[in-house]
């Protein structure tokens, strides 16, 4: 599914990818004009740009603009929508729509988690030196016995938790 979505961005009828195509074909304006920079489009933090979205109007649209100068109660719903589309790129609902980008992001994050895990496993097998002898259970037991014999930290530390009469840890 992901490759198909990615390919559909690249390929399109007519052979050129959709991404990178900057014509305004398919919008209310019709084609033929290079688009402005994005800061001229309405955005959530800049909802009222100075210039309208479509500046080159065909005859029908110009007639509609003339009609707009009159009373607005005479405009049909479809005409009002057409006028909105001339003025603005997208409605608020369209502008603020959610996307599925988070799925891609999370997928990449988990992929790199897995890759890091593989790298760590490889290091553990092929790179780390052997553990010192002092980390074996036998040595640790002797070490602990020695520390208890020395009464290390008898006030609040290790030896204070050992009951020397019963030879066990204090409960």
């Amino acid at each position: 599914m992901l490759p198909k979505a990615a390919w559909s961005l690249v390929l399109r009828k007519g052979g050129r990818g959709r991404r990178g195509m900057h014509s305004s074909e398919g919008t209310a304006c019709g084609g033929g004009k290079t688009p402005r920079y994005t800061n001229c489009y309405a955005q959530r933090h800049y909802p009222m740009p100075e210039e309208p979205f479509c500046t080159e109007l065909n005859a029908e649209q110009q007639a509609l603009k003339e009609k707009e100068k009159g009373s607005w109660t005479l405009l049909t719903h479809a005409e009002k929508v057409a006028l909105y589309r001339l003025q603005f790129n997208e409605t608020f609902a369209e502008m603020n729509r959610r996307s599925n980008e988070w799925k891609t992001v999370m997928g990449c994050v988990f992929f790199f988690f897995g890759f890091a895990a593989l790298v760590i496993w490889w290091q553990r097998v092929y790179m780390f030196p052997p553990k010192p002898i002092t980390l074996t259970d036998e040595w640790k037991a002797k070490q602990l016995q020695r520390m208890l014999d020395m009464k290390v930290n008898p006030v609040q530390g290790l030896a204070s938790h050992w009951d020397y009469e019963k030879k066990q840890w204090k409960k």
């Binding site: 002092t134 040595w139 070490q143 020695r146 008898p154």
Partner: protein
């Protein structure tokens, strides 16, 4: 920041700078006096010099005759079963309990720090300077510490072991 109610208050600003400074000075001076008063008078019966090198310690007992020896960490292969890795040394500093001991600590080359946490001791070994710390131990035993000032490649491998005997 341009509201006229909060501009041009030079007199008040001067007062609320000078007055807290005076108050702090009035707090600090007795506090310093008390700080130095809490330093105990020890009258040490024993003085030992501890000299830090890269990467071992030298101890000098020069009160009664001249005993000087080096104290290197024991490598893991040389340990006896039950010894503590990276903490055991070949020659320990042997000290008496219940006697005030003065340690004079310095360094031959770079900064080190002579530390025994359970005895509450940490003193920097500064080349060209003699630092002094005094303590009186009450319990016999073996006490471990590690160099506490970064001093090069083997900074983690120059421990201090004090053996306190009755």
């Amino acid at each position: 920041l341009t509201n006229t109610n909060i501009t041009d208050a030079q007199e008040m600003e001067t007062i609320w700078t000078i007055l807290p400074a005076v108050i702090l000075i009035l707090i600090a001076l007795p506090s310093l006096r008390i700080l130095y008063m809490t330093d105990e008078i020890n009258n040490p019966s024993f003085t030992i010099k501890s000299i830090g090198h890269q990467w071992y310690w030298t101890y000098e007992y020069t009160d009664y005759g001249g005993l000087i020896f080096n104290s290197y960490m024991l490598p893991p292969l040389f340990l006896n079963p039950g010894d503590l890795r990276l903490l055991e040394v070949d020659n320990r500093v042997v000290l008496p309990i219940e006697a005030p001991v003065r340690m004079m600590i310095t360094s031959q080359d770079v900064l080190h720090s002579w530390t025994i946490p359970t005895l509450g001791l940490k003193t920097d070994a500064v080349p060209g300077r003699l630092n002094q710390t005094m303590f009186t131990a009450t319990r016999p035993g073996v006490y471990y510490g590690q160099c506490s000032e970064i001093c090069g490649a083997n900074h983690s491998f120059m421990p201090i072991v004090a053996e306190l005997i009755p």
